[in-house]
């Protein structure tokens, strides 16, 4: 029997705003399956996003949701988690939202290792505003603001997250639909900051400018260039040229922020009495 997504969708919220072929819908389905497999309850789960096409995701899902300002998802999510540590907090957003205007909040959430899951949909572009380059637009590729190719170097979101201190970092793509839910579920179960980067496609503002003939073309590219971490160890640097790694890239057990904070509170109260 086909999986019933509708039970998790807010009544009356469809159709969604996404263009045909946009990868964000695939991520939404993966998220729904992941939350289901983890047994998350709608009254005990908060989905937090910023602004962008990716950030529209929480609006469709029947959970507690916060649609905040551009770039501020991680800050809002931190507030929710500190006030209600028993809630499962999941941040959702785009590459622009999370690493450009919201980059500061993102790295500090990673640094604190606060117990939440950040699913970042990296379609290499500011989709919502019409395809301006983002910090994740590959060098040389075209955007509405770089009509002759982007001169800027690019962020590797997963490396950024690892470097900043996140303790669970994984990467997959919109093509690898079944891996999306597995990684998100693992991230939810992980105690600490989990970042799941989903390489995604925006046919409307990125594909069309960069000579991808179709959505299938974009998906093929994601499929062909993905190398599972296990396989990568057996490959030469030359073979890895132009590829990216998928799967769990980093995992570490480290003290979690809310717990550390609780210890400080207990200590302070102990001293006061």
């Amino acid at each position: 029997m086909a999986y019933d997504y509708e039970k998790s969708i807010r009544p009356g919220k469809l159709p969604h705003i996404w263009c045909p072929g946009c990868g964000h819908g695939i991520v939404m389905k993966g998220l729904i399956r992941a939350m289901d497999s983890c047994g998350l309850e709608k009254n005990n789960t908060a989905l937090v996003s910023g602004i962008g096409c990716a950030s529209r995701l929480p609006g469709y899902v029947d959970m507690c949701t916060l649609h905040t300002a551009h770039g501020r998802a991680a800050a809002f999510a931190t507030g929710v988690k500190m006030a209600k540590p028993e809630m499962t907090v999941i941040c959702l957003g785009g590459d622009g939202d999370g690493t450009a205007i919201g980059g500061n909040h993102f790295i500090h959430a990673c640094r604190r290792n606060i117990d939440m899951t950040y699913v970042i949909m990296n379609n290499f572009i500011y989709g919502m505003t019409g395809g301006q380059f983002s910090p994740c637009t590959p060098t040389g590729m075209k955007a509405s603001t770089t009509p002759y190719g982007n001169p800027d170097p690019t962020f590797d979101i997963s490396k950024l997250a690892i470097g900043a201190g996140a303790t669970f970092v994984a990467r997959t793509t919109a093509f690898h639909a079944t891996q999306i839910d597995k990684l998100i579920a693992e991230g939810i179960k992980h105690k600490g900051m989990a970042v799941i980067e989903v390489l995604d496609d925006c046919p409307t503002t990125y594909g069309r400018r960069n000579k991808f003939r179709s959505v299938v073309d974009m998906m093929k590219k994601l499929k062909e260039n993905a190398v599972p971490v296990q396989a990568a160890s057996k490959m030469t640097a030359e073979q890895l040229q132009g590829k990216f790694l998928t799967g769990v890239l980093y995992k570490e057990d480290k003290p979690e922020y809310i717990e550390q904070y609780a210890k400080v509170i207990a200590k302070a109260q102990g001293q006061a009495s």
Binding site: A69, G71, A100, I101, G103, T129, P147
Partner: protein
């Protein structure tokens, strides 16, 4: 087609409001440009990036990850002596808030376009003037355009104003998102040499203090105690002077380009008007049409267009509003805590000069709610009845049917 006609046609180009802003900015030859995209401004950054890429804009483009960086970057570049340009809207403008104080406090002559859109709180990708209002006390000069041509002309005028030796303040040119940003109109484009000539007087001024190698200059210095007070006093005096400067550069613009707009305010059919309506931005066009229709019916109604919001045109407005039987103010944003619109609140502060008169506030046009002709007719009717001594509702939310 005759050569003369061809030349005449070449002068015109169909541009959106955003396009007009970008073309005007390019003609002013900025040295440094920095912007971050946001609806409904994005076309401005895209157009300027295109100009830059195809070599027709010889500026340094500083590519940033958010508006706060854009404002800081152009502020610093202006301090170093560059002519700068930036543009934003709504969330972007309020994300610049601290940097805007800084730019004004440094007296950096930044020119910025703000495409009016409702600010955060209730997600509305819609027009509204609340963003501009929210930044009114940052010490910037704030201007408002009514049409595509006026956007074009005001951006050019803004450089004369910002960089004038007597002023040296940042200038924000506002225009309504959606209504003006995306509306395509025929714009008269001057030659580069004409714009150069118009801006040339700025070169004759004594050079302003800038960051140059070999001379030490402290920016962002601590103005403790009296130092602070003195700098603030000077800032306020410069603001006050800018009213007259704006009148002068608008007149000079008229001499160069054949168009001028009345300086701080424009009065339309106010000579013998018993009632007047005050408004700004794109709503002025609709109001003009209604005023004409009402005049044809014999109603003595006039219109005042607010072009300069900061500094507020205290004297010009007091004079224009004196002796009326009723005054209406159409606001497209709110003044929380005063239970009315912000422009209404400011006009209220002029009552001591104007004298006692029924003063009516109409709140309309929030979040892209169209300010229609019937809406404005209704405002004129309310003003007529108040002028005849009938009781009136001082603050009416028009779209709520109040």
């Amino acid at each position: 087609m005759t050569q003369a006609l061809k030349k005449e046609i070449k002068k015109y180009k169909v541009l959106t409001g955003n396009g007009a802003a970008a073309y005007a900015a390019r003609l002013c030859r900025p040295d440094v440009v920095s912007l971050y995209p946001i609806t409904p401004q994005s076309e401005v950054i895209e157009q300027l990036e295109n100009f830059h890429a195809n070599g027709t804009l010889e500026a340094e483009m500083i590519r940033v990850e958010g508006e706060n960086s854009a404002q800081n970057a152009v502020c610093a570049a202006a301090m170093a002596g560059a002519r700068v340009f930036t543009a934003t809207s709504s969330y972007g403008l309020v994300f610049m808030y601290d940097a805007m104080f800084q730019t004004a406090g440094y007296r950096a002559p930044v020119v910025m376009v703000n495409v009016n859109r409702e600010p955060p709180g209730i997600h509305a990708v819609c027009s509204g003037q609340q963003d501009m209002i929210a930044t009114r006390d940052t010490g910037w000069i704030q201007l408002i355009a009514e049409s595509g041509q006026e956007i074009f002309d005001l951006v050019i005028q803004a450089y004369r104003l910002a960089e004038d030796e007597a002023v040296q303040l940042p200038v924000m040119v506002n225009y309504d998102g959606y209504y003006l940003s995306f509306l395509a109109e025929s714009i008269e484009l001057p030659e580069q040499s004409e714009v150069d000539r118009y801006l040339a007087p700025l070169k004759e001024q004594p050079p302003r203090p800038t960051l140059v190698p070999g001379s030490s200059l402290g920016c962002g210095a601590h103005g403790l105690g009296m130092g602070f007070v003195e700098l603030r006093r000077k800032h306020m005096a410069a603001m006050a002077r800018s009213r007259q400067t704006f009148e002068e550069i608008d007149a000079a613009f008229g001499e160069e380009f054949g168009r001028s707009y009345g300086g701080q305010i424009e009065e339309y059919r106010t000579e013998d008007a018993e009632i007047v309506l005050l408004t700004s931005g794109s709503a002025v066009g609709t109001a003009r049409t209604v005023v004409d229709a009402k005049r044809a019916e014999g109603v003595k109604v006039g219109l005042i267009k607010l072009r300069m919001f900061r500094p507020f045109p205290i004297e010009r407005l007091s004079a224009a509003l004196q002796g009326r039987k009723a005054i209406g103010v159409l606001d497209r944003s709110l003044c929380f805590g005063w239970d009315c619109g912000p422009i209404y609140m400011e006009v209220k502060a002029l009552l001591a000069d104007i004298g006692k008169v029924p003063l009516l506030n109409f709140i309309d046009g929030l979040a892209n709610m169209d300010i229609t002709k019937p809406n404005i007719e209704r405002m004129v009717n309310d003003l007529q009845s108040a002028a005849q001594g009938e009781p009136f509702n001082p603050v009416a939310w028009v779209t709520m049917g109040e």
